[in-house]
Symmetry: C2
Subunit: 451 residues, 2 copies
């Protein structure tokens, strides 16, 4: 990686729009832009905008543009940077990038702007990863998690934990220096309490990944049930008034097979709604294979039974219990529908609704949200949504567990210190305090060009 | 139209990108932005950029953004304006627009920013129209025409012509004031010379529309000929080395049925290349219906004959002459192919090529370019590419013709003056000196939102 060169790329989405923005970063950003621009830029202040025209080396006028200047250390990347805002035509954007390259800029690799920001200390690694998550976020919860991470909340928590561990490790290591004198600087009970506390914290963070991942990718929900239990009515009731906000925003691509539902900022993906919509209930009656497939793809399963049929009401709990045994990792719930025309009662079923009349739909939605969030508080808890972070936290926890076990079995201080150092290594890999070129390459190659 | 309100819209294309830009224009742009932004903006200079966070009314943090300020009269629209550059996620962009609207901004109508620029005198109407053309341009020629028009070249030519007509009209009208004294201030010969000159100029401008329109939309070309004359070889030869530059730029959508070819910055659309590519020549032999259809869609027709077949060589001219009679408005040319293995000669056919060997392909391309440009000089002549302007020029010419006829038949000055005023009205409608709400609505409704 050579940070001495100047990179450029289109930063706005492809396609026709009112404006498009091209970014440059590197020591020659201003100089290269000035060579093509109609006005001198040298000596101008950082964070100022200049209107003029841009032409290529052959003096062909390309466009009227706004050039925004960012000085060294004052930009996103930490390097001298420029943003060129031109008319949003693919032809013009292509021509300007071409002209910049002819002046000595190089087309940026995917994520290279953010990678430079990381290497120049403007962002740590988990913040850099949050940039990609933020761009991809499609619901309020996913957005909030990514934005908190970008703002450094997660990083500062990790830093606090690391400092506790450093304190711990230094105490243990001090002991080692005085090993012959058989001194114990660190109170073993205190040490154990500290490692237990940190371990519990890390384990909770790691556990939040299930929620974070569900929020990031949407939570797959299956609605299963016999024919005529009202699956498609329930689907319409859920979608009708609450059609996912994101799908109203132009440009969000929607899955053709799945419908999405946004409840309290969490995106739920309703599996195989095409099947339900097309009135495939008759076909479904022929075999339960289809239901099995749906349940396999889902995290949450709504088992819909006909509340107006005494037989259904009587057997629904048994059905759900059987499913829970077959699918122990899924959250499965019984839902009695058609309660507006029900004649029998079954107080053991918590969710009793009428999809047609809209009765108790809020309770059903609350169940969905609670099933996802569990005992986490989306507003205040740190939620981990990145698989790499999750893995690092699992490894951290394992090392801490070894240290804790060591303390309990009275192992010598040097082994305990080693485990603690190992835990710190894993924690540090999340923020990039410890990183390798391979790791960086792997992370930034998943970014889009221009970021 | 109420320019007292503040409008906002997404200015960059829909979709996921590194950054997205939202625009505001109107008297409360700064105030509305400041209400959501983490830093004070009041008193800041125009053309400065500010980094901070943006939150909605409920204090929900939406994103880290760059806010660019433009003062009244110093912006694109001529009004106080703001550009908010945020992470390029549809979710975030939607949320920010929502928050701006909650603070009192209104979602802009299509083209409303440019319409305001026009109403505030920052652009004339033909320049405003050039903005849309510039964004849509897919080839260098189309781009150059639009950019020249945006830069005001066309407008200033029209202004010159109008001034000549104003001078002319005032002379004639001065005469009318002194009608009883039977004075002739304006030398009739001079008047006639002037009107003839302006008329010729306008007529040439109007005539350039055929070229301008072809360049704007691409020039449809048909390659026709009997089976085995080498149509698909010629197609590959043309496309092989010269595949349209625009199609290399990401985001340019390409027509699935047509191939495009960019020669000297002009976009040619090769009609029904799918048919040629799929080796449909056999089918084509069954009927000439298909060829007829192709020719009907084309502006330029290449009639390909087998130069190695004495019969083809002998009959090609007659074939082309017959086509010219049937299709008088098309430019049709005979092309003898397979000249690398030809045995007979026919010096009357100008284009003798070998598609296989690449012989004389440059001459063929030159014919295509010349057939489009005619006697216009793309670099220096004003080319009209807008149908509305063309219509106005035709009307101007008709009025001038009436004035000229009047002068020749010795009609009274007041009639001549009326015709000249009429011509000036039509000319003025191009730049918007004369405009109606209907006209403006019609023009700007074709713009995208955000422009």
């Amino acid at each position: 990686m050579n940070n001495q060169d100047t990179i450029c790329a289109l930063a706005t989405p492809n396609g026709v729009g009112a404006i498009g923005v091209i970014r440059l970063s590197g020591p020659k950003s201003w100089e290269i832009t000035e060579a093509l621009f109609s006005k001198p830029l040298k000596g101008k202040l950082s964070h100022t905008v200049h209107f003029g025209t841009i032409s290529n080396r052959n003096e062909e006028l390309l466009d009227e543009v706004l050039v925004t200047l960012f000085a060294h250390e004052k930009s996103y990347t930490g390097e001298e940077s420029v943003e060129i805002s031109c008319h949003g035509s693919a032809f013009i954007l292509g021509k300007i990038v071409e002209a910049l390259i002819a002046e000595g800029a190089r087309l940026a690799n995917p994520g290279e702007f953010t990678q430079r920001a990381f290497l120049n200390g403007k962002l740590d690694l988990s913040q850099a990863e949050a940039v990609a998550d933020l761009i991809a976020s499609q619901s309020r919860s996913a957005h909030d998690i990514a934005l908190k991470q970008l703002r450094g909340n997660f990083s500062s928590e990790l830093r606090d934990l690391r400092e506790k561990l450093i304190h711990f490790a230094s105490l243990v290591e001090l002991e080692l220096d005085f090993a012959e004198e058989d001194v114990e600087f660190a109170d073993r009970g205190e040490l154990k309490a500290l490692v237990t506390e940190v371990l519990a914290y890390i384990e909770r963070m790691a556990a939040s990944f299930e929620l974070g991942n569900a929020i990031k990718n949407g939570v797959p929900v299956a609605i299963v049930g016999a024919p005529n239990t009202g699956k498609s009515t329930l689907l319409n009731q859920l979608l009708g008034e609450n059609r996912a906000i994101v799908s109203d925003i132009a440009g969000t691509t929607r899955d053709v097979i799945e419908e999405t539902l946004n409840i309290e900022g969490i995106l739920f993906r309703l599996i195989d709604t095409a099947g339900i919509r097309e009135g495939a209930e008759e076909i479904e009656a022929l075999g339960i294979e289809r239901s099995k497939e749906k349940i396999n793809q889902a995290s949450l399963v709504l088992c819909l039974a006909d509340g107006s049929s005494p037989e259904s009401v009587a057997t629904v709990n048994q059905w759900v219990e059987e499913l829970k045994v077959t699918y122990p990792s899924k959250r499965i719930v019984a839902v009695l529908n058609k309660m507006d025309i029900a004649t029998t009662e079954n107080a053991t079923v918590a969710l009793q609704i009428s999809a047609k009349q809209g009765q108790n739909i809020d309770a059903l939605k609350k169940w969905l949200v609670d099933a996802v969030t569990g005992d986490f508080d989306l507003a205040n808890d740190t939620i981990v949504s990145n698989a790499r972070h999750h893995e690092a936290l699992i490894n951290t926890a394992a090392s801490l567990q070894k240290a804790k076990d060591g303390l309990e079995t009275g192992i010598t201080g040097d082994f305990v210190a080693m485990d603690i150092r190992q835990a710190m290594f894993y924690l540090g890999s999340i923020t990039g305090d410890i990183s390798t070129d391979d790791l960086l390459g792997n992370i930034f190659s998943k970014f889009c060009i221009g970021k």
